[in-house]
């Protein structure tokens, strides 16, 4: 598998978690989520593909969406974590950290073996 494809798979696989983390501290609208992701990661390649994922997470009940008028010249659609989303985020974060720790140990072992 080419390294680019592998990187894309990693990115794609972690995007749901990254989006849920973006709204963990409070509601955010679409562009604010994208800008938050861009500030901390390079997960967003095409901005337009984030919105369908937000829609899916909403349908799955992990996010709740609400249009807010009057805050800006145009309406903004805010996303916030639901109770189910909060629970899922805790599960995903725990699994992610455990996974990273395991791979980290594997890398350390391989480097120790090489030395």
């Amino acid at each position: 598998m080419p390294i680019d494809t592998w990187q894309e798979q990693l990115r794609r696989g972690s995007l749901d978690l990254a989006i849920l983390l973006s709204v963990a501290s409070g509601p955010r609208y679409g562009l604010a989520i994208i800008q938050h992701l861009e500030a901390f990661t390079d997960l967003v390649v095409t901005e337009g593909t984030i919105y369908p994922i937000l829609g899916r997470l909403t349908r799955e009940g992990l996010l709740a969406a609400e249009w807010v008028e009057g805050e800006a010249p145009h309406a903004r659609k805010y996303y916030r974590l639901t109770r189910l989303g909060t629970k899922r985020l805790a599960d995903m974060t725990g699994q992610w950290q455990a996974f990273v720790a395991k791979i980290g140990r594997l890398i350390a072992a391989s480097e120790g073996g090489r030395a």
């Binding site: 680019d4 894309e8 798979q9 794609r12 901005e47 337009g48 593909t49 829609g55 899916r56």
Partner: protein
């Protein structure tokens, strides 16, 4: 930045193509909400740009970073239609998702073709069962050299249809069986397609 007439026209054109593309796969209210959200995104980006700049360049950059409307629509419809089909298992949702898969890739086309064939066989068996009481001489097994070579409806019938009213039983058993088996395979296939797609590169 507030868009002038040209900029508004360009934005309307982008949203129009997006809406037309989304409408092929999504319900009207979902399409309207998606288009509204994309428009909100563009206008939000525009508010961060000071007035007096190059409107055309700014708008084109925003739209380029958003992605071509067809790609955005494809991402929406893929997330929505396949998701809905896998979760609900509704016939219309499954057929809509299969159509999406068929027009997305060559492999998807052949998979969808196979599944549509399965559905078609199921419907055909049921039609045969229903038609038999109304056209007893035209519906049944068709023989050649003593062997059955066809099963179905023939106009005009050049020979007497074989099978009698067992044809109804056969149609009523094979029709639903074909439909149920094809439907289960379609749902599993779409679940596999969905998981494969979520692992694939974002483009």
């Amino acid at each position: 930045m507030i868009l002038g007439e040209t900029g508004e026209s360009r934005l309307r054109g982008y949203l129009y193509v997006l809406e037309r593309s989304l409408r092929l796969a999504l319900p009207r209210e979902v399409t309207a909400d998606a288009v509204r959200e994309i428009e909100s995104h563009v206008r939000e980006r525009l508010t961060a740009i000071p007035d007096g700049g190059d409107e055309r360049a700014a708008l084109e950059q925003i739209l380029a970073e958003l992605g071509p409307p067809l790609r955005v629509a494809q991402a929406y419809s893929a997330e929505r239609t396949i998701d809905e089909a896998v979760v609900t298992g509704r016939v219309v949702a499954i057929l809509r998702a299969m159509w999406h898969v068929a027009v997305t890739s060559v492999g998807g086309f052949f998979a969808a073709l196979g599944l549509f064939t399965g559905y078609a066989f199921g419907v055909a068996f049921l039609i045969i069962a229903i038609a038999k009481p109304f056209m007893p001489d035209n519906v049944g097994f068709w023989m050649k050299d003593g062997y059955p070579v066809a099963f179905g409806i023939q106009f005009p019938a050049d020979q007497h249809a074989v099978g009698g009213y067992w044809v109804i039983v056969i149609g009523l058993v094979l029709g639903p069986a074909c439909l149920v088996i094809t439907h289960r395979i379609a749902r599993r296939f779409l679940a596999w397609w969905q998981s494969r797609r979520r692992r694939a590169p974002l483009s």
